[in-house]
Amino acid sequence: MSGCLEGFSLGKVEKKKKSWKTDKSFYLMVLPGMILVAIYYYGPLVGWALAFQRYDITKGLFGSQYVGWDNFKYLFTKYPGFWQVIRNTLSISIAKMIVNFAFPIIVSLLLNEIKIERYKKSLQTMMYLPHFLSWVVISGLLIDILSPTDGIINNILKALGVKPVYFLGSPSIFPATMVVSDAWKVFGFSTILYMAALTSIDPQLYEAAIIDGASRFKRCWHITIPGIVSIMVLSGILSLGNLLNAGFDQIFNLYNPAVYSTGDVLDTFTYRIGFKNFQYDMATAVGIVKSCVSLLLVSTSYFMAYKFADYRIF
Protein backbone atom coordinates (compact mmCIF):
# COMPACT_ATOMS: atom_id res chain seq x y z
CA MET A 1 0.00 0.00 0.00
CA SER A 2 3.02 2.29 0.22
CA GLY A 3 2.43 3.43 -3.34
CA CYS A 4 -1.04 4.66 -2.52
CA LEU A 5 0.20 6.51 0.51
CA GLU A 6 2.89 8.20 -1.51
CA GLY A 7 0.31 9.11 -4.10
CA PHE A 8 -1.71 11.00 -1.55
CA SER A 9 1.11 12.75 0.22
CA LEU A 10 3.43 13.71 -2.61
CA GLY A 11 3.14 15.96 -5.62
CA LYS A 12 2.48 14.45 -9.04
CA VAL A 13 5.96 14.82 -10.47
CA GLU A 14 7.70 13.51 -7.43
CA LYS A 15 5.34 10.57 -7.24
CA LYS A 16 6.13 9.51 -10.77
CA LYS A 17 9.87 9.66 -10.16
CA LYS A 18 9.61 7.68 -7.01
CA SER A 19 7.38 4.98 -8.44
CA TRP A 20 9.73 4.43 -11.38
CA LYS A 21 12.56 3.92 -8.92
CA THR A 22 10.77 1.16 -7.04
CA ASP A 23 9.34 -0.13 -10.29
CA LYS A 24 12.85 -0.52 -11.67
CA SER A 25 13.98 -2.74 -8.84
CA PHE A 26 10.79 -4.78 -9.23
CA TYR A 27 11.44 -5.23 -12.95
CA LEU A 28 15.01 -6.28 -12.23
CA MET A 29 13.74 -8.89 -9.79
CA VAL A 30 11.27 -10.51 -12.17
CA LEU A 31 13.64 -10.33 -15.14
CA PRO A 32 15.69 -13.54 -14.60
CA GLY A 33 12.52 -15.56 -14.09
CA MET A 34 10.91 -14.02 -17.14
CA ILE A 35 13.91 -14.80 -19.33
CA LEU A 36 13.99 -18.44 -18.23
CA VAL A 37 10.24 -18.80 -18.70
CA ALA A 38 10.48 -17.12 -22.11
CA ILE A 39 13.12 -19.61 -23.23
CA TYR A 40 11.89 -22.84 -21.68
CA TYR A 41 8.11 -22.34 -21.67
CA TYR A 42 7.47 -19.99 -24.57
CA GLY A 43 10.44 -21.19 -26.64
CA PRO A 44 8.84 -24.60 -27.24
CA LEU A 45 5.76 -22.85 -28.64
CA VAL A 46 7.98 -21.70 -31.51
CA GLY A 47 8.81 -25.36 -32.00
CA TRP A 48 5.14 -25.98 -32.82
CA ALA A 49 6.19 -25.11 -36.36
CA LEU A 50 7.57 -28.66 -36.46
CA ALA A 51 4.07 -30.04 -36.65
CA PHE A 52 3.53 -28.26 -39.96
CA GLN A 53 6.72 -29.58 -41.52
CA ARG A 54 8.05 -32.78 -42.91
CA TYR A 55 10.82 -32.62 -40.36
CA ASP A 56 14.27 -33.53 -41.52
CA ILE A 57 16.86 -33.77 -38.75
CA THR A 58 19.68 -32.82 -41.09
CA LYS A 59 17.90 -29.65 -42.20
CA GLY A 60 16.53 -28.61 -38.81
CA LEU A 61 13.55 -26.48 -37.85
CA PHE A 62 14.39 -23.67 -40.25
CA GLY A 63 15.29 -25.74 -43.27
CA SER A 64 12.58 -28.40 -43.35
CA GLN A 65 9.76 -28.32 -45.85
CA TYR A 66 6.34 -27.02 -44.76
CA VAL A 67 3.42 -29.31 -45.47
CA GLY A 68 0.51 -27.40 -43.91
CA TRP A 69 -2.00 -29.53 -42.02
CA ASP A 70 -0.87 -32.83 -43.54
CA ASN A 71 0.52 -34.23 -40.28
CA PHE A 72 -2.73 -33.52 -38.48
CA LYS A 73 -4.81 -35.03 -41.27
CA TYR A 74 -2.64 -38.12 -41.25
CA LEU A 75 -2.92 -38.35 -37.48
CA PHE A 76 -6.70 -38.18 -37.40
CA THR A 77 -7.42 -40.35 -40.40
CA LYS A 78 -4.66 -42.87 -40.86
CA TYR A 79 -2.24 -43.06 -37.96
CA PRO A 80 -2.48 -46.60 -36.60
CA GLY A 81 -3.81 -46.72 -33.10
CA PHE A 82 -4.45 -43.00 -32.64
CA TRP A 83 -8.16 -43.27 -31.87
CA GLN A 84 -7.49 -46.27 -29.69
CA VAL A 85 -5.07 -44.10 -27.71
CA ILE A 86 -7.69 -41.35 -27.35
CA ARG A 87 -10.22 -43.89 -26.11
CA ASN A 88 -7.72 -45.33 -23.61
CA THR A 89 -6.76 -41.87 -22.38
CA LEU A 90 -10.36 -40.81 -21.83
CA SER A 91 -11.50 -44.02 -20.19
CA ILE A 92 -8.56 -44.24 -17.81
CA SER A 93 -8.62 -40.56 -16.88
CA ILE A 94 -12.40 -40.36 -16.44
CA ALA A 95 -12.34 -43.44 -14.23
CA LYS A 96 -9.51 -41.92 -12.21
CA MET A 97 -11.36 -38.63 -11.97
CA ILE A 98 -14.46 -40.27 -10.50
CA VAL A 99 -12.60 -42.57 -8.11
CA ASN A 100 -10.12 -39.89 -7.02
CA PHE A 101 -13.00 -37.53 -6.36
CA ALA A 102 -15.26 -39.86 -4.43
CA PHE A 103 -12.83 -42.05 -2.50
CA PRO A 104 -11.04 -39.30 -0.53
CA ILE A 105 -14.41 -37.80 0.44
CA ILE A 106 -15.68 -41.13 1.73
CA VAL A 107 -12.46 -41.75 3.64
CA SER A 108 -12.56 -38.24 5.13
CA LEU A 109 -16.13 -38.68 6.31
CA LEU A 110 -15.25 -42.02 7.86
CA LEU A 111 -12.11 -40.63 9.48
CA ASN A 112 -14.25 -37.86 10.89
CA GLU A 113 -16.26 -40.47 12.79
CA ILE A 114 -13.17 -41.69 14.63
CA LYS A 115 -13.22 -39.91 17.94
CA ILE A 116 -9.86 -41.03 19.30
CA GLU A 117 -7.78 -38.12 18.05
CA ARG A 118 -4.39 -39.82 18.26
CA TYR A 119 -5.58 -42.92 16.45
CA LYS A 120 -7.04 -40.79 13.70
CA LYS A 121 -3.74 -38.92 13.33
CA SER A 122 -1.70 -42.10 13.05
CA LEU A 123 -4.06 -43.53 10.46
CA GLN A 124 -3.69 -40.35 8.44
CA THR A 125 0.09 -40.41 8.72
CA MET A 126 0.15 -43.91 7.27
CA MET A 127 -2.22 -42.92 4.48
CA TYR A 128 -0.07 -40.00 3.28
CA LEU A 129 3.00 -42.14 2.78
CA PRO A 130 2.62 -43.38 -0.82
CA HIS A 131 2.17 -39.83 -2.02
CA PHE A 132 5.76 -38.92 -1.14
CA LEU A 133 7.33 -41.61 -3.26
CA SER A 134 7.89 -41.48 -6.98
CA TRP A 135 6.04 -43.67 -9.44
CA VAL A 136 9.37 -45.31 -10.19
CA VAL A 137 9.57 -46.60 -6.63
CA ILE A 138 5.90 -47.49 -6.45
CA SER A 139 6.13 -49.28 -9.78
CA GLY A 140 9.05 -51.36 -8.58
CA LEU A 141 6.94 -52.25 -5.59
CA LEU A 142 3.81 -53.05 -7.59
CA ILE A 143 5.69 -55.17 -10.14
CA ASP A 144 6.85 -57.39 -7.30
CA ILE A 145 3.65 -57.45 -5.30
CA LEU A 146 1.40 -58.04 -8.31
CA SER A 147 3.60 -60.61 -10.02
CA PRO A 148 1.50 -63.60 -11.15
CA THR A 149 4.23 -66.12 -10.27
CA ASP A 150 5.60 -65.03 -6.91
CA GLY A 151 3.85 -61.80 -5.94
CA ILE A 152 2.35 -61.67 -2.50
CA ILE A 153 -1.15 -60.76 -3.71
CA ASN A 154 -1.32 -63.69 -6.07
CA ASN A 155 0.12 -65.92 -3.35
CA ILE A 156 -2.79 -64.90 -1.18
CA LEU A 157 -5.25 -65.47 -4.03
CA LYS A 158 -3.71 -68.89 -4.69
CA ALA A 159 -4.14 -69.81 -1.05
CA LEU A 160 -7.80 -68.88 -1.39
CA GLY A 161 -8.06 -71.08 -4.45
CA VAL A 162 -8.29 -68.27 -7.03
CA LYS A 163 -6.37 -68.48 -10.30
CA PRO A 164 -3.43 -66.01 -10.58
CA VAL A 165 -4.39 -62.62 -11.94
CA TYR A 166 -2.14 -60.86 -14.51
CA PHE A 167 -2.66 -57.36 -13.13
CA LEU A 168 -0.02 -55.77 -15.36
CA GLY A 169 -0.01 -58.15 -18.28
CA SER A 170 -3.63 -58.58 -19.22
CA PRO A 171 -5.18 -55.88 -21.42
CA SER A 172 -8.59 -56.26 -19.79
CA ILE A 173 -7.30 -55.76 -16.23
CA PHE A 174 -4.47 -53.27 -16.81
CA PRO A 175 -6.64 -50.09 -16.87
CA ALA A 176 -8.36 -51.10 -13.63
CA THR A 177 -4.96 -51.75 -12.07
CA MET A 178 -3.95 -48.22 -13.08
CA VAL A 179 -7.08 -46.65 -11.58
CA VAL A 180 -6.92 -48.57 -8.31
CA SER A 181 -3.17 -48.12 -7.77
CA ASP A 182 -3.43 -44.41 -8.53
CA ALA A 183 -6.31 -44.04 -6.08
CA TRP A 184 -4.26 -45.90 -3.50
CA LYS A 185 -1.28 -43.58 -4.02
CA VAL A 186 -3.17 -40.28 -3.78
CA PHE A 187 -6.26 -40.80 -1.62
CA GLY A 188 -4.56 -40.17 1.72
CA PHE A 189 -3.06 -36.93 0.59
CA SER A 190 -6.32 -35.75 -0.95
CA THR A 191 -8.06 -36.17 2.39
CA ILE A 192 -5.91 -33.36 3.83
CA LEU A 193 -8.07 -30.69 2.22
CA TYR A 194 -11.31 -32.25 3.40
CA MET A 195 -10.00 -32.86 6.89
CA ALA A 196 -8.95 -29.21 7.08
CA ALA A 197 -12.42 -28.15 5.99
CA LEU A 198 -14.03 -30.52 8.50
CA THR A 199 -12.15 -29.06 11.45
CA SER A 200 -13.46 -25.62 10.58
CA ILE A 201 -17.09 -26.67 11.03
CA ASP A 202 -18.57 -25.08 14.13
CA PRO A 203 -18.93 -27.80 16.85
CA GLN A 204 -21.98 -25.98 18.21
CA LEU A 205 -23.89 -27.10 15.13
CA TYR A 206 -23.31 -30.71 16.14
CA GLU A 207 -24.28 -30.02 19.75
CA ALA A 208 -27.51 -28.39 18.67
CA ALA A 209 -28.25 -31.28 16.32
CA ILE A 210 -27.65 -33.84 19.07
CA ILE A 211 -30.06 -32.01 21.35
CA ASP A 212 -32.62 -31.99 18.55
CA GLY A 213 -32.16 -35.75 18.35
CA ALA A 214 -30.42 -35.99 14.99
CA SER A 215 -28.84 -39.37 14.34
CA ARG A 216 -25.22 -39.71 13.37
CA PHE A 217 -26.14 -40.21 9.74
CA LYS A 218 -28.41 -37.14 9.80
CA ARG A 219 -25.70 -35.03 11.38
CA CYS A 220 -23.31 -36.12 8.64
CA TRP A 221 -25.86 -35.40 5.91
CA HIS A 222 -27.07 -32.02 7.19
CA ILE A 223 -23.94 -30.57 8.79
CA THR A 224 -20.74 -32.32 7.72
CA ILE A 225 -21.39 -32.62 4.00
CA PRO A 226 -22.68 -29.05 3.58
CA GLY A 227 -19.54 -27.99 5.47
CA ILE A 228 -17.21 -29.45 2.85
CA VAL A 229 -19.36 -29.03 -0.23
CA SER A 230 -17.48 -25.98 -1.47
CA ILE A 231 -14.16 -27.84 -1.38
CA MET A 232 -15.85 -30.76 -3.12
CA VAL A 233 -17.10 -28.52 -5.91
CA LEU A 234 -13.73 -26.83 -6.25
CA SER A 235 -11.64 -29.98 -6.47
CA GLY A 236 -14.18 -31.59 -8.77
CA ILE A 237 -14.11 -28.65 -11.16
CA LEU A 238 -10.34 -28.26 -11.13
CA SER A 239 -9.84 -31.93 -11.91
CA LEU A 240 -11.66 -31.45 -15.24
CA GLY A 241 -8.59 -29.72 -16.60
CA ASN A 242 -6.70 -33.00 -16.39
CA LEU A 243 -9.01 -34.94 -18.67
CA LEU A 244 -6.22 -35.73 -21.13
CA ASN A 245 -3.67 -36.60 -18.45
CA ALA A 246 -4.12 -40.23 -17.65
CA GLY A 247 -0.89 -40.31 -15.63
CA PHE A 248 2.31 -40.58 -17.67
CA ASP A 249 4.70 -41.53 -14.86
CA GLN A 250 2.53 -44.36 -13.68
CA ILE A 251 1.62 -45.88 -17.01
CA PHE A 252 5.07 -45.47 -18.53
CA ASN A 253 6.63 -47.38 -15.66
CA LEU A 254 4.06 -50.14 -15.55
CA TYR A 255 2.96 -50.86 -19.09
CA ASN A 256 4.44 -53.19 -21.67
CA PRO A 257 3.67 -54.11 -25.29
CA ALA A 258 1.18 -56.76 -24.14
CA VAL A 259 -1.18 -54.08 -22.82
CA TYR A 260 -0.69 -51.32 -25.41
CA SER A 261 -4.19 -51.97 -26.74
CA THR A 262 -5.82 -50.69 -23.54
CA GLY A 263 -2.98 -49.00 -21.69
CA ASP A 264 -1.37 -46.73 -24.25
CA VAL A 265 -2.38 -43.12 -23.56
CA LEU A 266 -1.65 -39.80 -25.29
CA ASP A 267 1.51 -39.03 -23.32
CA THR A 268 3.07 -42.48 -23.64
CA PHE A 269 2.08 -42.52 -27.32
CA THR A 270 3.77 -39.14 -27.86
CA TYR A 271 6.88 -40.40 -26.13
CA ARG A 272 7.09 -43.49 -28.28
CA ILE A 273 6.53 -41.87 -31.65
CA GLY A 274 8.92 -39.06 -30.69
CA PHE A 275 11.79 -40.83 -28.98
CA LYS A 276 11.49 -44.37 -30.31
CA ASN A 277 10.35 -43.74 -33.89
CA PHE A 278 11.95 -40.28 -34.16
CA GLN A 279 8.84 -38.86 -35.79
CA TYR A 280 9.38 -35.44 -34.26
CA ASP A 281 6.82 -33.78 -36.51
CA MET A 282 4.04 -36.25 -35.68
CA ALA A 283 4.86 -36.24 -31.97
CA THR A 284 4.66 -32.45 -31.97
CA ALA A 285 1.32 -32.57 -33.76
CA VAL A 286 -0.05 -34.88 -31.07
CA GLY A 287 1.34 -32.50 -28.45
CA ILE A 288 -0.42 -29.54 -30.04
CA VAL A 289 -3.75 -31.33 -30.21
CA LYS A 290 -3.40 -32.21 -26.56
CA SER A 291 -2.29 -28.71 -25.57
CA CYS A 292 -5.19 -27.02 -27.36
CA VAL A 293 -7.84 -29.29 -25.90
CA SER A 294 -6.23 -28.91 -22.47
CA LEU A 295 -6.18 -25.13 -22.77
CA LEU A 296 -9.90 -25.20 -23.43
CA LEU A 297 -10.53 -27.58 -20.53
CA VAL A 298 -8.27 -25.84 -18.04
CA SER A 299 -9.57 -22.35 -18.80
CA THR A 300 -13.15 -23.58 -18.61
CA SER A 301 -12.49 -25.28 -15.30
CA TYR A 302 -10.73 -22.21 -13.88
CA PHE A 303 -13.56 -20.02 -15.05
CA MET A 304 -16.09 -22.33 -13.43
CA ALA A 305 -14.02 -22.52 -10.26
CA TYR A 306 -13.99 -18.74 -10.15
CA LYS A 307 -17.71 -18.52 -10.75
CA PHE A 308 -18.93 -21.28 -8.43
CA ALA A 309 -16.26 -21.42 -5.75
CA ASP A 310 -14.75 -17.93 -5.93
CA TYR A 311 -11.35 -19.45 -6.67
CA ARG A 312 -8.60 -17.24 -8.07
CA ILE A 313 -5.04 -18.07 -9.08
CA PHE A 314 -3.70 -14.80 -7.71
Binding site: Y40, S134, V136, G287
Partner: protein, 293 residues
Protein backbone atom coordinates in the same frame (compact mmCIF):
# COMPACT_ATOMS: atom_id res chain seq x y z
CA UNK B 1 -23.25 -38.02 26.26
CA UNK B 2 -26.05 -39.85 24.52
CA UNK B 3 -25.80 -43.64 24.47
CA UNK B 4 -24.95 -45.27 21.18
CA UNK B 5 -27.55 -47.36 19.43
CA UNK B 6 -26.68 -50.87 18.27
CA UNK B 7 -26.45 -49.70 14.67
CA UNK B 8 -23.96 -47.04 15.60
CA UNK B 9 -21.82 -49.54 17.46
CA UNK B 10 -21.79 -51.89 14.48
CA UNK B 11 -20.89 -48.98 12.24
CA UNK B 12 -18.06 -47.99 14.56
CA UNK B 13 -16.57 -51.46 14.55
CA UNK B 14 -16.66 -51.68 10.77
CA UNK B 15 -15.37 -48.16 10.41
CA UNK B 16 -12.36 -48.86 12.61
CA UNK B 17 -11.59 -52.13 10.85
CA UNK B 18 -11.98 -50.64 7.38
CA UNK B 19 -9.85 -47.54 7.98
CA UNK B 20 -7.16 -49.51 9.81
CA UNK B 21 -6.94 -51.97 6.93
CA UNK B 22 -6.79 -49.10 4.45
CA UNK B 23 -4.02 -47.35 6.36
CA UNK B 24 -2.07 -50.60 6.71
CA UNK B 25 -2.33 -51.13 2.96
CA UNK B 26 -0.31 -47.95 2.54
CA UNK B 27 2.52 -49.12 4.76
CA UNK B 28 2.69 -52.91 4.54
CA UNK B 29 3.94 -53.07 0.92
CA UNK B 30 7.01 -51.11 1.97
CA UNK B 31 7.61 -53.35 4.96
CA UNK B 32 7.22 -56.38 2.71
CA UNK B 33 9.78 -54.89 0.31
CA UNK B 34 12.13 -54.19 3.18
CA UNK B 35 11.79 -57.78 4.35
CA UNK B 36 12.56 -59.10 0.86
CA UNK B 37 15.64 -56.92 0.57
CA UNK B 38 17.05 -58.48 3.75
CA UNK B 39 16.12 -62.05 2.83
CA UNK B 40 18.09 -64.73 1.04
CA UNK B 41 17.43 -65.06 -2.66
CA UNK B 42 16.01 -68.56 -2.26
CA UNK B 43 13.44 -67.45 0.28
CA UNK B 44 12.48 -64.45 -1.80
CA UNK B 45 12.03 -66.26 -5.09
CA UNK B 46 10.04 -69.03 -3.42
CA UNK B 47 7.69 -66.41 -2.05
CA UNK B 48 8.33 -67.35 1.55
CA UNK B 49 8.89 -63.76 2.69
CA UNK B 50 6.04 -61.90 4.29
CA UNK B 51 6.64 -58.96 6.57
CA UNK B 52 9.78 -60.29 8.23
CA UNK B 53 13.12 -61.22 6.59
CA UNK B 54 13.69 -64.94 6.03
CA UNK B 55 17.31 -66.12 6.31
CA UNK B 56 18.53 -62.62 7.05
CA UNK B 57 21.38 -61.36 4.89
CA UNK B 58 22.87 -58.03 3.86
CA UNK B 59 24.33 -59.26 0.58
CA UNK B 60 21.86 -57.40 -1.63
CA UNK B 61 22.78 -54.12 -0.01
CA UNK B 62 26.46 -54.92 -0.17
CA UNK B 63 26.05 -55.71 -3.84
CA UNK B 64 24.15 -52.49 -4.52
CA UNK B 65 26.77 -50.36 -2.84
CA UNK B 66 29.53 -52.09 -4.76
CA UNK B 67 28.09 -51.09 -8.09
CA UNK B 68 29.87 -47.95 -9.26
CA UNK B 69 26.94 -46.75 -11.39
CA UNK B 70 24.65 -46.90 -8.39
CA UNK B 71 27.02 -44.82 -6.25
CA UNK B 72 27.57 -42.38 -9.09
CA UNK B 73 23.86 -41.84 -9.64
CA UNK B 74 23.46 -41.28 -5.92
CA UNK B 75 26.03 -38.48 -6.14
CA UNK B 76 24.32 -36.96 -9.16
CA UNK B 77 21.02 -36.91 -7.31
CA UNK B 78 22.57 -35.19 -4.30
CA UNK B 79 24.13 -32.59 -6.56
CA UNK B 80 20.82 -32.12 -8.32
CA UNK B 81 18.86 -31.73 -5.11
CA UNK B 82 21.21 -29.12 -3.67
CA UNK B 83 21.71 -27.09 -6.85
CA UNK B 84 18.07 -27.43 -7.85
CA UNK B 85 16.90 -26.33 -4.44
CA UNK B 86 19.14 -23.25 -4.42
CA UNK B 87 18.15 -22.17 -7.93
CA UNK B 88 14.44 -22.82 -7.42
CA UNK B 89 14.23 -21.01 -4.10
CA UNK B 90 16.20 -17.98 -5.24
CA UNK B 91 14.13 -17.52 -8.38
CA UNK B 92 10.84 -18.17 -6.64
CA UNK B 93 11.62 -15.59 -3.96
CA UNK B 94 12.77 -12.79 -6.26
CA UNK B 95 9.91 -13.39 -8.68
CA UNK B 96 7.11 -13.78 -6.18
CA UNK B 97 8.03 -10.67 -4.23
CA UNK B 98 7.38 -7.99 -6.87
CA UNK B 99 4.28 -9.84 -8.06
CA UNK B 100 2.85 -9.75 -4.54
CA UNK B 101 2.66 -5.95 -4.78
CA UNK B 102 -0.45 -4.15 -5.96
CA UNK B 103 -0.83 -2.61 -9.39
CA UNK B 104 -0.38 0.84 -7.85
CA UNK B 105 3.06 -0.03 -6.52
CA UNK B 106 4.26 -2.18 -9.42
CA UNK B 107 2.65 -1.13 -12.66
CA UNK B 108 3.65 -4.08 -14.82
CA UNK B 109 2.39 -6.52 -12.23
CA UNK B 110 -0.78 -7.87 -13.83
CA UNK B 111 0.73 -8.34 -17.26
CA UNK B 112 3.84 -10.05 -15.90
CA UNK B 113 1.79 -12.21 -13.57
CA UNK B 114 -0.20 -13.43 -16.58
CA UNK B 115 3.02 -13.96 -18.51
CA UNK B 116 3.89 -16.55 -15.85
CA UNK B 117 0.40 -17.89 -15.24
CA UNK B 118 -0.22 -18.55 -18.93
CA UNK B 119 2.31 -21.39 -18.78
CA UNK B 120 -0.06 -23.20 -16.43
CA UNK B 121 -2.57 -23.37 -19.27
CA UNK B 122 -0.50 -24.23 -22.33
CA UNK B 123 2.61 -26.36 -22.58
CA UNK B 124 4.97 -26.61 -25.51
CA UNK B 125 4.86 -30.38 -25.48
CA UNK B 126 7.50 -33.05 -25.16
CA UNK B 127 9.45 -32.79 -28.41
CA UNK B 128 9.58 -28.97 -28.74
CA UNK B 129 10.72 -28.69 -25.12
CA UNK B 130 13.33 -31.35 -25.73
CA UNK B 131 14.60 -29.43 -28.74
CA UNK B 132 14.86 -26.15 -26.84
CA UNK B 133 16.79 -27.81 -24.02
CA UNK B 134 19.08 -29.47 -26.55
CA UNK B 135 19.66 -26.33 -28.59
CA UNK B 136 20.52 -24.28 -25.50
CA UNK B 137 23.32 -26.74 -24.86
CA UNK B 138 22.04 -28.25 -21.62
CA UNK B 139 21.95 -31.83 -22.84
CA UNK B 140 24.17 -34.24 -20.89
CA UNK B 141 24.82 -31.65 -18.18
CA UNK B 142 23.33 -31.48 -14.71
CA UNK B 143 21.72 -28.17 -15.74
CA UNK B 144 19.31 -30.01 -18.03
CA UNK B 145 17.72 -31.34 -14.83
CA UNK B 146 17.52 -27.92 -13.19
CA UNK B 147 17.22 -24.99 -15.59
CA UNK B 148 14.09 -25.96 -17.60
CA UNK B 149 12.09 -26.14 -14.36
CA UNK B 150 14.00 -23.37 -12.59
CA UNK B 151 10.88 -21.24 -12.05
CA UNK B 152 8.16 -23.45 -10.57
CA UNK B 153 5.13 -21.31 -11.30
CA UNK B 154 2.85 -23.04 -8.83
CA UNK B 155 5.29 -22.46 -5.97
CA UNK B 156 5.58 -18.87 -7.05
CA UNK B 157 1.82 -18.46 -6.70
CA UNK B 158 1.90 -20.01 -3.22
CA UNK B 159 4.67 -17.71 -2.04
CA UNK B 160 3.12 -14.67 -3.67
CA UNK B 161 -0.09 -15.28 -1.76
CA UNK B 162 1.90 -15.73 1.43
CA UNK B 163 3.82 -12.47 0.93
CA UNK B 164 0.50 -10.68 0.56
CA UNK B 165 -0.55 -11.58 4.09
CA UNK B 166 2.43 -9.76 5.57
CA UNK B 167 1.18 -6.40 6.92
CA UNK B 168 2.01 -3.51 4.58
CA UNK B 169 2.91 -1.29 7.53
CA UNK B 170 6.16 -3.18 8.06
CA UNK B 171 7.27 -2.38 4.54
CA UNK B 172 6.15 1.22 4.84
CA UNK B 173 8.16 1.84 7.97
CA UNK B 174 11.23 0.24 6.37
CA UNK B 175 10.79 2.49 3.34
CA UNK B 176 10.61 5.50 5.63
CA UNK B 177 13.86 4.42 7.21
CA UNK B 178 15.38 4.47 3.77
CA UNK B 179 15.56 0.75 2.99
CA UNK B 180 15.53 -0.31 -0.65
CA UNK B 181 13.29 -3.03 -2.02
CA UNK B 182 16.11 -5.55 -2.16
CA UNK B 183 16.80 -5.12 1.50
CA UNK B 184 13.12 -5.19 2.44
CA UNK B 185 12.77 -8.50 0.64
CA UNK B 186 15.78 -10.28 2.14
CA UNK B 187 15.76 -8.77 5.62
CA UNK B 188 12.04 -8.49 6.30
CA UNK B 189 9.94 -10.60 3.95
CA UNK B 190 12.18 -13.66 3.77
CA UNK B 191 12.65 -14.04 7.56
CA UNK B 192 8.90 -13.54 8.04
CA UNK B 193 8.15 -16.23 5.45
CA UNK B 194 10.22 -19.03 6.94
CA UNK B 195 7.18 -21.34 7.36
CA UNK B 196 6.19 -20.94 3.72
CA UNK B 197 9.78 -21.23 2.53
CA UNK B 198 10.27 -24.38 4.61
CA UNK B 199 7.18 -25.84 3.00
CA UNK B 200 8.42 -25.02 -0.48
CA UNK B 201 11.83 -26.43 0.43
CA UNK B 202 10.28 -29.76 1.30
CA UNK B 203 8.30 -29.77 -1.93
CA UNK B 204 11.35 -28.81 -3.99
CA UNK B 205 13.74 -31.29 -2.41
CA UNK B 206 11.33 -34.21 -2.64
CA UNK B 207 10.43 -33.15 -6.17
CA UNK B 208 14.05 -33.19 -7.31
CA UNK B 209 14.73 -36.40 -5.44
CA UNK B 210 11.80 -38.18 -7.10
CA UNK B 211 12.04 -36.80 -10.63
CA UNK B 212 13.35 -39.28 -13.19
CA UNK B 213 12.02 -38.42 -16.65
CA UNK B 214 14.33 -35.50 -17.48
CA UNK B 215 17.32 -37.66 -16.54
CA UNK B 216 16.12 -40.28 -19.00
CA UNK B 217 15.63 -38.02 -22.00
CA UNK B 218 18.43 -35.50 -21.48
CA UNK B 219 21.24 -37.91 -20.60
CA UNK B 220 22.59 -39.99 -23.46
CA UNK B 221 24.92 -41.96 -21.21
CA UNK B 222 23.43 -43.92 -18.35
CA UNK B 223 26.52 -42.93 -16.34
CA UNK B 224 24.90 -39.51 -15.96
CA UNK B 225 21.59 -40.83 -14.67
CA UNK B 226 20.28 -39.52 -11.37
CA UNK B 227 19.15 -42.16 -8.90
CA UNK B 228 15.48 -42.42 -9.88
CA UNK B 229 16.33 -42.63 -13.57
CA UNK B 230 18.87 -45.33 -12.79
CA UNK B 231 16.25 -47.18 -10.76
CA UNK B 232 13.75 -46.78 -13.57
CA UNK B 233 16.20 -48.27 -16.03
CA UNK B 234 16.84 -51.35 -13.90
CA UNK B 235 13.17 -51.86 -13.16
CA UNK B 236 12.25 -51.89 -16.83
CA UNK B 237 15.36 -53.69 -18.07
CA UNK B 238 17.02 -55.67 -15.30
CA UNK B 239 20.47 -56.28 -16.68
CA UNK B 240 22.85 -58.79 -15.15
CA UNK B 241 25.14 -58.98 -18.14
CA UNK B 242 27.28 -56.01 -17.17
CA UNK B 243 28.72 -57.54 -14.02
CA UNK B 244 32.40 -58.29 -13.76
CA UNK B 245 33.81 -61.54 -12.42
CA UNK B 246 34.51 -60.31 -8.89
CA UNK B 247 30.81 -59.77 -8.45
CA UNK B 248 29.83 -63.26 -9.56
CA UNK B 249 30.45 -64.75 -6.10
CA UNK B 250 28.13 -62.24 -4.50
CA UNK B 251 25.65 -62.71 -7.29
CA UNK B 252 25.07 -66.29 -6.22
CA UNK B 253 23.68 -65.09 -2.94
CA UNK B 254 21.27 -62.58 -4.36
CA UNK B 255 18.55 -62.67 -6.94
CA UNK B 256 17.06 -60.14 -9.25
CA UNK B 257 14.25 -59.80 -6.77
CA UNK B 258 16.24 -59.14 -3.61
CA UNK B 259 18.69 -56.90 -5.46
CA UNK B 260 15.89 -54.78 -6.85
CA UNK B 261 14.16 -54.64 -3.50
CA UNK B 262 17.38 -53.44 -1.88
CA UNK B 263 17.83 -50.69 -4.44
CA UNK B 264 14.22 -49.61 -4.18
CA UNK B 265 14.60 -49.42 -0.41
CA UNK B 266 17.81 -47.39 -0.65
CA UNK B 267 16.07 -44.87 -2.89
CA UNK B 268 13.02 -44.81 -0.63
CA UNK B 269 14.87 -44.67 2.68
CA UNK B 270 15.80 -40.96 2.76
CA UNK B 271 12.19 -40.00 2.13
CA UNK B 272 10.97 -42.45 4.77
CA UNK B 273 13.48 -41.18 7.31
CA UNK B 274 12.63 -37.51 6.99
CA UNK B 275 8.95 -38.21 6.39
CA UNK B 276 7.79 -37.75 10.01
CA UNK B 277 9.57 -34.40 10.21
CA UNK B 278 8.43 -32.97 6.92
CA UNK B 279 4.87 -34.20 7.09
CA UNK B 280 3.48 -31.01 8.58
CA UNK B 281 5.15 -28.94 5.88
CA UNK B 282 3.62 -31.07 3.18
CA UNK B 283 0.23 -30.60 4.74
CA UNK B 284 0.64 -26.87 5.17
CA UNK B 285 1.74 -26.62 1.54
CA UNK B 286 -1.40 -28.38 0.45
CA UNK B 287 -3.62 -26.03 2.42
CA UNK B 288 -1.50 -22.97 1.67
CA UNK B 289 -1.93 -23.51 -2.02
CA UNK B 290 -5.55 -24.43 -2.14
CA UNK B 291 -7.48 -22.94 0.72
CA UNK B 292 -6.98 -19.27 0.11
CA UNK B 293 -9.80 -16.81 0.29
Amino acid sequence: MIRKTLGEKVFDVFNYIFLTALALSCVLPFIHMLAISFSSSAAATQGRVGLWPVEFTLSSYRFAFQRPDFIRSFGITLERVILGWAVNMFLVIITAYPLSKTKQVFKGRTLIAWFFAFTMFVGGGLIPTYMVVTSTGLKNTIWALIIPGAVPIYHMVILLNFFRQIPKEIEESALMDGARQNRILWQIYVPLSIPALATLTVYTVVGHWNEWFSGMIYMDDSKNYPLQTYLQSIITTPDFSLFDTTQIELLKKISNKTFRAAQIMIVTMPVLLIYPFMQKYFISGMTLGSLKG
